[in-house]
Every structure is written in structure tokens, then in C-alpha cells.
């Protein structure tokens, strides 16, 4: 059993390395690869992809302290801007379904995301992209308060209409 686990770990690590190293992941066995959808906006990220894959948490951490404590609101490295570009076209969110941008890699890497306990996963914007707006916010609160479970974007969009 132990040996089987060790083997599994090796396979996983190799798969992870293969994925991290190239744009087109090698077709080997193991866990299903994360779905990395191209951002809905913009030509390229604020830094090269390889850098962001390894360091996004560091730049976000630095920026969050500057924003909260000093009130610096530059767009580069702002979580809100990540969400603005990377929210999925289908769910309007970066973390509502398992294929959404943040969740997809994080579940593959088995790293829990805490950001969205507090931060909205959806961009500010149109009705379709962000169903919670001033007119409907109260209904959504009602739903969320009663649900006791995560409310899907579809449900909220349903209320908004």
C-alpha cells in the first residue's frame, strides 16, 4: 500500500512538473489536468504566465497590504483586476464552478483558496456578468441567508431577472 502511494506521488509530481514546464501538458496518466481558460479580456497578463503561475500569491499579498493599509489603489496586481479579466464567460466568476480560473488550478494543486470567503468572485459590471446590483442585492442576501450553502451564479442570475 505504502509503495503504491509513493508511486502515486511520483506520478503526480511528474505530471505537475510537465504541466508547469510547458503550455501544452504532456498526455500522461494521473489526475485530470486543470482547465486553463484564456482570459476574457486583454492580450496578456501583467507578467509572463510562468512568473504568474509561481508568484501570483506573492504579488497579491504585497499589493493587498498597500491597498488596505495605505489606500494605494493601483490596478496592477490588484485581485479585482485578476477577476475582471479571468471571470469565466459561463459563470461570470473565477470560483463558482470547478472549471473556473482560480478553482481549476487550486483544486489540482490541492491548495485551499481563502480569498473568496471575503472577496467577491465576480467582476463589477453588467447585469449578466454581475447579477448582484443595487436593485437585486437584497433578494440575493435573502437567498444566501436562507440557503446555508453556496448559492450558484445561475440561481442569483435567476433572481436578478
Amino acid at each position: 500500500m505504502k509503495r503504491l502511494l509513493a508511486l502515486g506521488a511520483v506520478v503526480l509530481t511528474t505530471a505537475a512538473l510537465a504541466w508547469a514546464g510547458s503550455e501544452e501538458p504532456a498526455q500522461s496518466g494521473g489526475a485530470p489536468k486543470p482547465v486553463i481558460t484564456k482570459a476574457t479580456k486583454g492580450e496578456h497578463c501583467v507578467e509572463p504566465n510562468d512568473f504568474m503561475r509561481r508568484n501570483h500569491m506573492k504579488v497579491l499579498l504585497h499589493h493587498r497590504d498597500e491597498t488596505v493599509i495605505e489606500g494605494i489603489r493601483t490596478k496592477k496586481y490588484s485581485l479585482k483586476e485578476c477577476i475582471n479579466c479571468h471571470a469565466s464567460e459561463k459563470t461570470g466568476s473565477v470560483a463558482a464552478s470547478k472549471d473556473d480560473f482560480c478553482v481549476s488550478c487550486h483544486s489540482y494543486a490541492a491548495v485551499k483558496i481563502d480569498c473568496f470567503d471575503c472577496h467577491s468572485t465576480k467582476p463589477q459590471g453588467s447585469m449578466a456578468m454581475h447579477p448582484l446590483n443595487a436593485e437585486t442585492a437584497h433578494y440575493a442576501h435573502k437567498l444566501a441567508a436562507q440557503a446555508g450553502r453556496p448559492v450558484s451564479t445561475e440561481e442569483m442570475a435567476g433572481i436578478a431577472q
Binding site: 493587498r64 497590504d65 498597500e66 488596505v68 493599509i69 495605505e70 489606500g71 494605494i72 489603489r73 493601483t74 490596478k75 479585482k80 477577476i83 466568476s93 470560483a95 463558482a96 473568496f116 470567503d117 471575503c118 472577496h119 467577491s120 468572485t121 465576480k122 467582476p123 463589477q124 454581475h130 448582484l132 443595487a134 442585492a137 437584497h138 440575493a140 442576501h141 435573502k142 444566501a144 441567508a145 436562507q146 440557503a147 450553502r149 453556496p150 448559492v151
Partner: protein, 257 residues
């Protein structure tokens, strides 16, 4: 420095008050030729940190605050995404960033209406007691909770004399506003609409709503700028700080209480 100036605004006598206000105006003109006005009117650039040259404050005219109106409260709830208490599943522990108070003097039957919110103390007890450093006062006088650091111990709620803070008890299930992160296990309170202030709106959701209702009881602005509307009104109107005896130098001043 700004603190000394603010506490000087507490008048000892009309003469003294007039003397001080003239002195402040003179200082304002010579020291900052137009700079402050421009800064406040357009907001600061997004790469600039909040500056202690500004002290955001609020003047609430209780004589204009209408009985039965709670437009400021619903505007705050809408802007900042907290559930109105009436709609909450657990009303006794629902977060409230601003509350409408209607008070009656048992002797005279006279009624006083006022909104109560975080007073953005210059000497905030909530910051003094916070064991983690999560409660802090920003350079422009806005008292905030850094939710990345808050452990939800609620010492600050105990320390606040104004019952201004709430703990979020329940998961919010992605109902937050993109501009206003807030979540379970953290303490929160009025932020003077810091997202609007940083955007350069120069006002808060409650002040806007009150103006829209026609009552015009809430005035928001920079108390350090002698030419700002709020500074002018503070010079003219007699105002009080709630529990002035605590000497906290509040950012919210009331007229007519």
C-alpha cells in the same frame, strides 16, 4: 499636528472660537495655496497613499434628521452589501454599519433623531485593544479593520463606546460587493465608504441618500481643509461629540443633540 488643530475646534467661548477660525483660515491660505482644494475635489491619484493632510469627517444635523426615515441605513446596506437587519435570519447578531436612533426625553417628551455609526475616533479605543494590529487608523483618519489580520476576538467590539462594530457570524456565499470585501469571522464597521473616497467621490452613500431624501442632515468632507463645506459649517454651528468626556476627538460631530 492635525489632531491639535481639531481639538482646538472645540470652542471655549465664542471669542476664542472666532479667533481660532480666523487663524486657521489664514494658515490655510498661506500654507496651501489651492493645493488642498484640488486634491479634495478630484481625489488623490490611485498610486498615492492616503495622506494625513486630510481628515475625513462628518457633520450630522440632528434637527434635520427626519422621524421614520432610514434612507441612510438602506443606502449603506446597498453600497456595502450587508443584509438589512429586517431581512436577516438572525437579527440580533446581524451586522449593522449604521443605525437610526429615535430618542425621547422622558421628561419633556422631546424627540431626537440621529444616525449612529463609527465615529472614526482620532484616539480609537478599538485600535488600542486590538491584539493583532488588525484595527488601525488610516492616515486620513478613517478607522478600518484589516480583515486579512483580524482573528475575530471581538475585543474591539467591547472597547468601542458607540457600539459601532459587528462580527460577521455567517458565511456570505459570494454576495459581497466587488469593492467591499467582508466575510465570516471578521469584525467590521462603517468605513466612511473608503472605496468611494479613494475613487474621488468625496462623499459617502449615507450622505448622498440623505441629500436625495431632501433632509440634508449629513455632510461629509475634509475637516482639515478650512475651505471645505464641512469646516465652514463646523465653524458656524454649535456641535457636540457624543460622550465628549472620553476625549476621543471624534470624526463625527452632531448638531442639535
Amino acid at each position: 499636528m492635525s489632531d491639535t488643530k481639531m481639538s482646538d475646534n472645540t470652542p471655549d467661548s465664542p471669542e476664542r472660537r472666532r479667533f481660532i477660525s480666523t487663524a486657521t483660515v489664514a494658515a490655510g491660505v498661506t500654507l496651501v495655496p489651492g493645493v488642498m482644494l484640488v486634491e479634495v475635489a478630484q481625489g488623490r491619484p490611485e498610486d498615492q497613499p492616503a495622506s494625513s493632510a486630510v481628515r475625513w469627517g462628518m457633520l450630522i444635523d440632528a434637527t434635520k434628521c427626519a422621524s421614520g426615515c432610514d434612507d441612510c441605513v438602506s443606502a449603506c446596506s446597498t453600497e456595502n452589501g450587508w443584509t438589512p437587519v429586517a431581512e436577516s435570519k438572525h437579527p440580533t447578531q446581524a451586522p449593522q454599519w449604521i443605525r437610526k436612533l429615535e430618542l425621547q426625553d422622558p421628561l419633556t417628551q422631546g424627540q431626537t433623531n440621529l444616525p449612529m455609526l463609527c465615529q472614526h475616533c482620532a484616539e480609537p479605543p478599538c485600535v488600542d485593544v486590538c491584539p493583532t494590529g488588525a484595527s488601525f487608523k488610516r492616515d486620513d483618519g478613517i478607522v478600518l479593520v484589516n480583515r486579512h489580520i483580524c482573528i475575530g476576538c471581538r475585543y474591539c467590539m467591547m472597547a468601542c463606546p458607540y457600539k459601532a462594530r459587528s462580527l460577521v457570524h455567517e458565511p456570505l456565499n459570494d454576495t459581497q460587493k466587488p469593492d467591499v470585501p467582508r466575510g465570516i469571522g471578521c469584525v467590521e464597521a462603517c468605513t466612511f465608504c473608503v472605496q468611494k473616497v479613494d475613487r474621488g467621490d468625496g462623499t459617502t452613500a449615507c450622505a448622498e441618500a440623505c441629500a436625495k431624501s431632501g433632509n440634508n442632515a449629513i455632510l461629509f468632507g475634509d475637516m482639515n481643509d478650512p475651505e471645505s463645506e464641512i469646516s465652514k459649517r463646523l465653524r458656524e454651528l454649535p456641535t457636540k461629540q457624543v460622550r465628549a468626556d472620553l476625549n476621543l476627538n471624534l470624526g463625527v460631530r452632531y448638531h442639535g443633540i
